[in-house]
């Protein structure tokens, strides 16, 4: 494996990444709030929201990379964990609306009044407290991932089968959340949010703060992932990815490792969703659609699977491209995305980061070879 040579380089890149993310968390709010509007360096609020959205996607991609890149679990259902985190945050934001809804009901959200519900369903209780919602952001996706993972890994459902099961899971949730009687707003989802922690969502300051929170969450997620993959645990994960049966025969409890990393990753995706919802202002069942989950996988593939930094780069680049293309040539976007899927799997199996490290590895090999050849010619 080249990993041994590449790790120090990537590690440095990783540390730089953390610093850059934290730097962005400080810089962008300053550029948005303090730099005057007419300055060339001013960042308009909608760009702040857009970039915040990209960072949430990047965190989602990071979580996919952790399970796929390092443990070989191709989850086609990470969008579900993202959406669950989003719904948990959305429920908190709904409760914050209070009596300011269209129907002016003191506690019930508008859609429940519309459905003639008399009282809040039990699973909405507690969501008026931020701490409770924050716990649920981690707990809901974590529990689902724990349940699915426990069942699947225990009976050794692997590879494509697991992918299809996760896809079926998110599809089932999509259908479920579309139902009005589920109590999550049906196909309209949750929207019309007013404020978060008392701060109005539309205000520039709040947007900047949310952006900063996303950047910090991404940095923390990144550091957590680095810590996991560089620890002994990470080595076992890679071993499982490359030869699951052999690892099992060596005495490792494969399913426990897998479960741990799967649940961690799901919680990360949940946090990404929770930060995403206040920035886009809506969460609806569409987030559960299997296509979203697969798109997150392609971000990772584009950036480079099993590199962490690659997933972030991939998520930001692909979504930036999506923003540009869907504005300029909407009908081209699906061609471009589809082509990207094919091209990356055929020609760029290691992604953009793979190209980069491959280039450096080759250069170093050449240098090493040129040094190595000299004594050989002398000696012969």
């Amino acid at each position: 494996m080249q990993g041994g040579i590449l790790l120090p380089r990537l590690d440095r890149a990783g540390l730089i990444f953390g610093a850059v993310a934290l730097g962005l968390a400080i810089l962008i709010p300053i550029l948005n709030l303090i730099v005057p509007t007419d300055s060339a360096f001013h960042v308009p609020p909608h760009v702040v929201a857009l970039m915040g959205k990209y960072l949430c996607y990047a965190l989602l991609a990071l979580s996919v990379d952790l399970v796929w890149g390092y443990c070989g679990i191709l989850s086609l259902g990470h969008g579900a964990f993202f959406a669950l985190g989003g719904y948990a945050m959305g429920m908190y934001l709904m409760r914050q609306i209070g009596p300011r809804g269209m129907y002016g009901h003191p506690t019930l959200p508008d859609f429940m009044v519309f459905l003639n519900w008399q009282e809040l369903p039990w699973y909405w209780l507690g969501f008026d407290q931020f701490w409770f919602a924050a716990i649920m952001v981690l707990l809901a996706p974590g529990l689902l991932a724990g349940l699915l993972g426990w069942l699947a890994f225990r009976s050794r459902v692997t590879g494509v089968y697991l992918s299809i099961i996760t896809q079926a899971m998110t599809f089932a949730l999509l259908l479920a959340f579309f139902r009005n009687d589920m109590g999550f707003g049906g196909n309209n989802g949750l929207t019309d949010f007013k404020d978060i922690l008392g701060a109005p969502l539309q205000a520039d300051g709040t947007r900047s703060a949310l952006f900063a929170a996303s950047a910090i969450a991404l940095a923390f997620g990144f550091i957590l992932c680095r810590w996991i993959v560089r620890s002994k645990l990470g080595r076992v994960l890679v071993a499982i990815r490359d030869a699951e049966s052999r690892t099992r025969f060596l005495g490792y409890r494969v399913e426990q490792y897998k479960l741990l990393v799967f649940v961690t990753s799901a919680c990360m995706a949940g946090v990404a969703g929770a930060l995403y919802v206040p920035q886009v202002g809506i969460i609806n069942p569409g987030e559960f659609s299997p296509a979203n989950s697969i798109e997150a996988v392609i971000w990772v593939a584009v950036g480079g699977r099993g590199t962490l930094i690659g997933s972030v780069i991939g998520a930001v680049l692909v979504n930036f491209g999506k923003t540009l293309l869907t504005n300029a040539l909407p009908e081209i976007w699906l061609f471009a995305l589809g082509g990207l899927f094919i091209a990356v799997t055929l020609f760029l199996p290691r992604g953009i980061v793979g190209l980069w490290t491959g280039y450096w590895a080759k250069r170093r090999e050449k240098q090493a070879a040129s040094i190595a050849t000299q004594p050989v010619t002398e000696g012969s």
Binding site: S155, V157, L175, F335, G338, G339
Partner: protein, 531 residues
């Protein structure tokens, strides 16, 4: 001379009737409902079948009073104006502005009276089918006034089926009569219980609390029997629906059973092959509509081979262009074929537009037939048979042809097959083409029952994968059993849990099932530790 007279009288009678009933019909234009009902009774007493169209028009709100001369006419609304016909002779009376006419309104009471008199009038029709429906109408209306008519009709009736219906109608009327003796009631209950169905149930259930113990007992027994029968009929209907859904799922999944089950290739673009088959049907129908409308009933049969060729050809292109570079890397294949599915969807959307396409049903696909209480549409029946035929043909191909032998050889042991001189690359391409072509065939069938839009395939892909895994990868019989049983389970759950929740339950059920049996219902025996 006598004969002549008779003929003459036959000719004259309708005229006499018409002269007599004309003013009676005009009386229907009276101002209040009570007067209209009186006019209706008078009309019914004439026993003149010629008033049937007028009564039907009255019931449908198409009978008008002409304000100029108070004549009652039948009117067909055509935009602002109304086309008029004479209610008795059917002769055209030109058109008139809506303002010159007043619609004769009916209330529920009047509507019941109309039904009853229509039933009475048609009871003597020479057409057995008309008499049959008249008897059924009387059964529903239970108008005691028709009883004498019913009795005479019953005496004259020769057709056994109609006679039975008439008896049932009479029993229904008799039951409503509180003064009836216990024995008569019991026999009436027996007759109605024999009829069965919701209407009989509604008739009998009040009698279960009758004060006469014998009647109450007989009624309770009859109700239990009918309910039992109805429950079975509903279950049978659901099983039929389930088989129909199962055959749709089978068609969608069977191509995947070849590419995924036999070859092990994860083809996420499988649904798009189905979609291409449906669009091929659309194009074929468009060409037929434009150039040879007479061939329309043959359009599906013409579309079948074309859809197979189009989808199969594109399948071979995909295999040669993309998938062959990814053998042994199933997860990458999954992503690449997903990308292909996006490209194909967008391509179809760019060419045909995002809206649903109009694919027509040939005459032999339309309509339905009745087996007992169960209704089966011809379309569903053909799709079910078609699914089985495709399955049988595929089985034959795999088991009985050299190509099938080669396919099985390559999938079982690639290198050994190559050593025996089989061109594995060619077999791979053909197998993939076969699976895609079958998806195209499925598309022709699905175009008849689903919306033909670029998203057609997306709706089937997850279901198809679930079925192939549920049935056991690499086992075609498993796919058959899986598709049909999932279809039935889905439809049996639907009345209990609702359509969406039923589907969710099935999905969750399969997810749990795969945990218990990761290799599906009918697992292939093997010793490989990695799968």
């Amino acid at each position: 001379m006598r004969i002549l007279l008779l003929l003459l009288s036959l000719l004259v009678t309708p005229l006499v009737w018409a002269q007599a009933t004309g003013p009676l019909i005009d009386a229907l234009g009276a101002d209040d409902f009570a007067a209209r009902e009186q006019a209706l009774t008078a009309l019914t007493e004439t026993d003149d079948p010629a008033i049937v169209p007028a009564l039907k028009a009255l019931e449908n709100g198409q009978l008008y009073r002409r304000l100029s001369d108070d004549k009652v006419v039948i009117g067909q609304e055509q935009g602002e104006s109304i086309t008029l016909t004479d209610p008795l002779t059917g002769e055209a009376l030109g058109t008139q502005a809506a303002g010159d006419l007043e619609r004769i309104r009916v209330n529920n009471r009047l509507r019941r009276a109309i039904d009853a008199s229509l039933g009475a009038l048609t009871l003597r029709s020479p057409d057995a089918a008309v008499r049959q429906s008249a008897a059924d109408a009387v059964f529903v209306s239970r108008d005691a006034a028709t009883l004498p008519l019913l009795e005479t009709a019953l005496a004259a009736e020769t057709d056994a089926r109609v006679k039975r219906s008439l008896e049932q109608a009479r029993a229904a009327i008799l039951l409503a009569d509180a003064t009836l003796g216990t024995d008569d009631k019991l026999s009436a209950i027996a007759i109605i219980a024999d009829k069965g169905g919701q209407a009989a149930l509604a008739l009998l259930s009040p009698l279960t609390s009758s004060t006469e113990p014998a009647v109450a007992k007989a009624a309770t027994e009859a109700v239990r029997l009918i309910e039992n029968k109805l429950a079975w009929a509903a279950a049978a209907q659901n099983v039929i629906y389930g088989l129909s859904l199962g055959s749709v799922l089978l068609l969608a999944a069977i191509g995947l059973a070849v590419t995924f089950g036999v070859m092990g290739v994860i083809n996420m673009a499988h649904g798009e092959m189905v979609m291409l088959g449906a669009y091929t049907t659309f194009v074929v129908q468009e060409i037929i509509r434009a150039h040879a409308p007479g061939l329309f009933d043959w359009s599906l049969l013409i579309a079948l081979p074309l859809a197979f060729v189009v989808a199969g050809g594109i399948g071979i292109l995909i295999e040669r262009g993309v998938i062959r570079f990814l053998y042994g890397r199933p997860l990458e294949t999954l992503l690449a074929t997903w990308g292909l599915s996006l490209v194909l969807q967008q391509a179809v959307r760019s060419i045909f537009g995002p809206t649903n396409m109009e694919v027509g049903n040939p005459a032999w696909m339309a309509g339905a037939f009745q087996v007992g209480e169960v209704t089966i549409t011809y379309g569903r029946m053909w799709i079910f048979l078609f699914g089985l035929m495709v399955f049988a043909a595929l089985m034959l191909l795999l088991r009985r042809t050299p190509l099938g032998l080669q396919m099985r050889a390559v999938t079982q042991n690639r290198s050994m097959a190559r050593a025996m001189g089989i061109r594995t690359a060619r077999v791979d391409a053909l197998t993939f083409g076969l699976g895609s072509g079958i998806a195209g065939l499925a598309g022709v069938a699905l175009s008849q029952i689903d919306n033909v839009s670029p998203n057609l395939g997306q709706g089937y892909i997850i279901d198809s994968f679930m079925i192939v895994i549920f049935g056991g990868v690499g086992n075609l019989w498993g796919t058959l059993v899986g598709a049909l049983s999932l279809g039935i389970v889905n439809k049996l759950l639907e009345p209990l849990a609702g359509a969406v929740l039923g589907k969710i339950l099935v999905l969750v059920g399969i997810i749990l099932f795969i945990q218990a049996r990761p290799r599906g219902l009918f697992a292939l025996k093997g010793r490989a530790i990695e799968h």
